[in-house]
């Protein structure tokens, strides 16, 4: 079954078409990476799929619910870890987790249990009583993903989750994201080719709002005759530009 089915999904602004007639299916439990240069429409796609922005036309069906007609139901199925740091800086790590658990409708007892469990799962116990705003970028990203998972989402959107992190912090986050495969359908947007290669089941390449190609990393390499995903990406982007 498809977790996400985009049907002619389009977002137009007065000066630009950010997402242009996107048709895409993502299977349940799949980790799908959206690649593209700046302004390709990755973040706009994620914003529409996560109900933060309404499509100009078209629709997307998330586990049977429409992002146009069933926004509230969709919100119960999804979670987002935005590109920028998205924590409450003066709350402790544990309080941040409790807040998001409450936002998903969990009562006090359940919110505490969820927070305890996710803090343990993400190795946050050592910083649980520290203010989130005082922690390093790596910790904040880790908390951000933990916050996104506390509501038990069926679909998770990770927008540039490792942007600006050092090699070690990135490797740790990759392990966490890899552990979600098969249980949570994940849409990952990234600039890093090696990230997409390491983590994703399939990759979609976007340019100027259009989806140029979709496939596994191996399929994209075969399609373009390139040995590396990075070369395949450049080939497809240039080919898209030439067209």
């Amino acid at each position: 079954m498809n977790a996400i089915q985009c049907e002619h999904l389009t977002k137009r602004y007065p000066a630009v078409t950010a997402v242009d007639d996107l048709n895409l299916a993502v299977k349940e439990g799949e980790l799908f990476a959206l690649l593209g240069v700046n302004g390709a429409g990755k973040t706009t796609t994620v914003k529409m799929l996560s109900t933060l922005s309404s499509p100009t036309s078209g629709d997307a069906i998330l586990l049977g619910k429409s992002i146009v007609h069933d926004r509230e139901e969709v919100k119960r199925l999804i979670a987002i870890s935005p590109q920028e740091t998205a924590v409450a800086p003066n709350l402790t790590v544990f309080e941040n987790l409790q807040l998001i658990a409450a936002a998903y409708g969990f009562g006090k007892k359940e919110a505490n249990e969820k927070s305890e469990a996710i803090a343990k799962q993400f190795g946050l116990d050592s910083v649980r009583n520290r203010r989130a705003g005082k922690l390093s970028g790596g910790w904040q990203r880790r908390i951000s993903i933990a916050m996104a998972l506390i509501g038990d989402p069926k679909i998770l959107f990770l927008d540039e989750p490792t942007l600006g992190l050092d090699v070690l912090a990135r490797a740790e986050l990759w392990d966490m994201i890899r552990a979600l495969k098969g249980t949570v359908t994940t849409i990952l947007t990234t600039h890093y080719m090696e990230e997409a290669e390491m983590l994703s089941d399939r990759v979609g390449i976007m340019k100027e709002g259009k989806l140029l190609a979709v496939g596994t990393v191996e399929e994209l390499k075969t399609l373009t005759g390139c040995e590396k995903l990075e070369d395949a990406f450049v080939f497809l982007i240039r080919k898209g530009a030439a067209q």
């Binding site: 996560s50 109900t51 933060l52 509230e72 919100k75 119960r76 999804i78 979670a79 987002i80 870890s81 935005p82 590109q83 920028e84 740091t85 998205a86 924590v87 409450a88 800086p89 003066n90 709350l91 309080e95 409790q98 807040l99 998001i100 409450a102 936002a103 998903y104 409708g105 969990f106 009562g107 006090k108 919110a111 203010r131 951000s144 916050m147 996104a148 509501g151």
Partner: protein, 245 residues
């Protein structure tokens, strides 16, 4: 539960910021001490900063910082991705609006209590009427809290510093009759000042302190009118930015 947790978060974000304690409690206290010291050093027949007249004004002036704290928090939340994350959860608009505004009411009450406790130490005569001041705090706090929601919904965090931190606190200080009688200046200045809610907030507090309900009523109506108008505008603007996000 959603609204409660978000309200708790608002309170913690504000109270854990050292600037809150300095401007919210410390600055009004310093003003009260300083102006009382000046009053103590002028001849007794000159009533420059008489404590029973000054305290309601300083208590109201202190509330103007609540606009700054509230607007700054909302603007910062908007500028980062924190609100984006929450907008993608099942939390409704009412939870955001109530969560941003309700927790500031007890902060306003606490601020006023501290101001009056200090005034009592500075020889403000104790009277049961002082408890009536807490009733006046509610519409006055509502005024400044709704302004916080309004400015936080339309300004960036840097703009909030200028508009609420400098402009609003100055308007609130100069057009409120706290430090001098507006009638002494008279003319256009007095007329303009009377069109703003600040002087009415101060006069409402003074009238309640004196248990002068008839005198309080017209000022209460002015403040209430502003409360309703600003709240409607603030809710509209908050929902608009929420949709835009």
């Amino acid at each position: 539960m959603k609204t409660y947790r978000f309200a708790v978060r608002t309170a913690k974000e504000i109270l854990r910021d050292p600037l809150t304690l300095f401007f919210g409690i410390g600055f009004p206290a310093v003003l009260l001490l300083l102006l009382s010291a000046i009053q103590a050093n002028v001849p007794k027949e000159v009533e420059l900063f008489e404590i029973s007249h000054l305290t309601p004004g300083v208590a109201c002036f202190g509330l103007s910082f609540l606009t700054l704290f509230s607007a700054l928090l909302i603007a910062k939340d908007r500028s980062g991705a924190f609100l984006q994350r929450l907008y993608a959860t099942p939390m409704g608009a009412h939870s955001f609006i109530l969560g941003y505004t309700l927790p500031i009411i007890p902060i306003a009450l606490a601020q006023t209590v501290v101001c009056y406790l200090l005034a009592l130490i500075l020889r403000l005569p104790f009277s049961a009427n002082l408890f009536l001041v807490l009733l006046a705090v509610l519409p006055n706090a509502w005024l400044y809290i709704s302004m916080g929601l309004l400015f936080g919904s339309i300004l960036t965090d840097k703009q909030v510093g200028g508009i609420c931190g400098a402009l609003l606190t100055n308007l609130s200080a100069w057009l409120s009759g706290i430090w001098f009688d507006l009638a002494l200046v008279g003319g256009v200045f007095e007329k303009i000042a009377n069109l703003f809610p600040f002087v009415h907030a101060v006069e409402l507090t003074r009238a309640m302190q004196a248990a002068d309900f008839a005198g309080a009523l017209p000022h209460f109506l002015w403040v209430l009118g502003y409360d309703l108008a600003i709240t409607i505008a603030a809710v509209f603007l908050f929902l608009r930015q929420m949709k835009k996000n």
